[in-house]
């Protein structure tokens, strides 16, 4: 592992979950076509992925807030991320790779995976040895 990669991983761990939260709206989610399928490591440093952090490692809150502000203007776009159709605040984002947080969440699943300033700690379901191969839950014994 070279120094550049180590620096990259460190940076990802520190920026994870710090993408500003867009203000929720009430239109359907629309999946964006990938804008840049050749995302580089450098580009990834400009954004955040919820699944790119150390398992079970808590990520500190950035302290930012969007209670009354336009908080969605300085976010990075993710390949496969979703946004509200026609939402101007989502149109100036820059792209990242598959698995990114949802920029303009509307659906329940989108809200759960929205881009946010809130800290998080991923639980690795690989610790659940009884999960079925497809990730499903077996019946109780």
């Amino acid at each position: 592992m070279n120094a550049r990669l180590i620096l990259t991983l460190f940076s990802l761990a520190t920026v994870a979950c710090t993408t500003p939260r867009p203000i929720p709206d009430a239109s359907p989610d629309v999946t964006l076509a990938p804008i840049d399928t050749g995302v580089t490591v450098d580009a990834a440093l400009d954004g955040a992925f919820a699944d790119q952090r150390t398992d079970d490692a808590p990520i500190a809150d950035s302290g930012a807030d969007s209670t009354t502000s336009d908080a969605a203007t300085d976010v990075a776009r993710a390949d496969g991320a979703t946004r509200e159709a026609g939402a101007a605040r989502c149109d100036s984002d820059a792209g990242l790779g598959d698995g990114g947080c949802v920029l303009c969440p509307v659906s329940s699943a989108g809200l759960l995976n929205q881009c946010t300033n809130n800290g998080c700690a991923r639980f690795d379901n690989g610790r659940c040895g009884r999960l079925l191969p497809d990730g499903g839950l077996p019946p109780l014994p």
């Binding site: 994870a16 979950c17 939260r21 203000i23 929720p24 709206d25 009430a26 992925f49 919820a50 699944d51 952090r53 079970d56 490692a57 808590p58 500190a60 809150d61 807030d65 969007s66 209670t67 009354t68 502000s69 336009d70 908080a71 698995g99 947080c101 969440p105 509307v106 659906s107 329940s108 699943a109 809200l111 759960l112 995976n113 929205q114 946010t116 300033n117 809130n118 800290g119 998080c120 700690a121 991923r122 639980f123 379901n125 610790r127 659940c128 040895g129 009884r130 999960l131 990730g135 839950l137 109780l140 014994p141």
Partner: protein, 394 residues
């Protein structure tokens, strides 16, 4: 269910749930002024205690007399006309909790309280038209561990295995069933863990703690700190942050686990308010209503009216502040909402947003984006309404 069981079960559960109030003198409940009798869950006990003490200080005073044998015991008693008996808690104006003795013939229940809707309770197929359901603030449901636990988060899948498979779950370190603290099927906390994971509530393994408070006691006192785990309401978890710690929760399909707050130590409830945190519900109060939907009992009508905001609360009760300072979230501070127990999330623009006031009251500091208008300052166009000292959106 036989009449004997209906009468005795709540009494036994109430006896188990009744807190020990050292040095307190027990009085007859009927001797207290402005009595209103409530029965239900222990999840909202800190809030009920706060409101009760403020109402005891009002003029004329109202005395809230409450038993907390479990969420569904309250609504079942209300529906079946089961009377409260034994002893119950009430609160003095200074916040002191005391016990009083209920009439030997029992006492009718004026209101029931719980965190879930009635149809999710055992024995309640649907809410009868004679019972009104009044939603108030929001509470989270928190998975808790001892302060010294090495764990930071848990997923829905892991919770299913831990509580459904017990020692055979293979989800270390939660594989000691004597350290798995659970509740029974009448508990709102247990119902929400089961609703979230798909685990039948009557199949949960572990030790039944009987109340939210006792869950904290058992988890905090566990000898194997890494194996211990339990679940309680957010306000009970918040009231016991010196004893237990809340895990981040990662729901099915979620890419990361989130806390009810923006971090493990914050008090802002951003995880719930923004929709990152799945485990939350509306606090429900129930009472008998007439054909017009009006609560029949005048004191229950006043009490629930204070909580829902339909009746002005008497000084010194400030319901919004009481909700916030006990770890609950008023609807006006929510950015998302849901219908029913753990229903799908959707965006919410409250009628009169109070996010800035909420964060200021909950954390002691308003976010930088909030503008104070306490001194009569003009609010900006983006948040033009001065509400409770802060410029908020319309």
């Amino acid at each position: 269910m036989s009449i004997l069981v209906k009468l005795v079960v709540p009494l036994v559960l109430a006896a188990v749930a009744a807190p020990s109030v050292a040095g307190a003198q027990t009085v007859e409940c009927e001797s207290l002024p402005g009595r209103v009798y409530g029965l239900g869950g222990s999840a909202q006990r800190p809030f009920i205690a706060r409101v009760a003490s403020l109402l005891a200080a009002s003029t004329p005073p109202m005395t809230v007399i409450h038993q907390a044998p479990g969420a569904c015991n309250g609504i079942n008693a209300l529906i079946n006309n089961t009377r409260m008996s034994g002893t119950a808690s009430y609160w003095l104006a200074d916040g002191t909790e005391r016990q009083c003795t209920l009439p030997v013939t029992g006492q009718a229940v004026d209101f029931a309280n719980m965190g879930n809707t009635a149809p999710n309770c055992p024995g309640v197929a649907s809410l009868p038209p004679t019972i009104g359901d009044f939603g108030t603030s929001v509470t989270s449901w928190n998975v808790i561990v001892p302060l010294a636990s090495s764990q930071q988060s848990i997923s829905a899948e892991a919770l299913y295995f831990v509580y459904g498979w017990g020692a055979q779950s293979q989800v270390a370190p939660w594989i000691d069933e004597s350290a798995l603290i659970r509740r029974d099927a009448n508990s709102a906390a247990a119902l929400f863990i089961s609703l979230a994971t798909g685990l039948p509530v009557d199949r949960q393994r572990g030790i039944d703690a009987r109340t939210n408070g006792n869950t904290v006691t058992l988890v905090a006192g566990a000898t194997n700190v890494n194996a211990a785990i339990g679940y309680v309401s957010g306000e009970v978890a918040d009231a016991n942050r010196a004893r237990v710690r809340t895990l981040a929760y990662q729901h099915f399909g979620q890419r990361c686990g989130y806390w009810p707050d923006s971090s493990a130590t914050a008090l802002d409830k951003r995880g719930v308010r923004d929709g990152n945190y799945w485990l939350w519900s509306v606090n429900h109060y129930y009472a008998r209503i007439d054909a017009a939907g009006v609560i029949e009992n005048p004191r229950a009508r006043a009490f629930i009216g204070y909580l829902t905001g339909t009746t002005p609360a008497p000084a010194p009760l400030d319901v919004l502040r009481a909700e916030i300072t006990t770890g609950n979230i008023p609807r006006c501070a929510m950015n998302v909402w849901r219908d029913g127990d753990l229903g799908a999330l959707y965006s919410l623009q409250p009628d009169e947003p109070c996010g800035c006031f909420f964060e200021f009251t909950a954390t002691g500091r308003a976010p930088d984006s909030c503008v104070s208008c306490a001194g009569g300052a003009r609010c900006p166009d983006a948040a033009p309404v001065c509400r409770r000292g802060f410029c908020e959106v319309l």
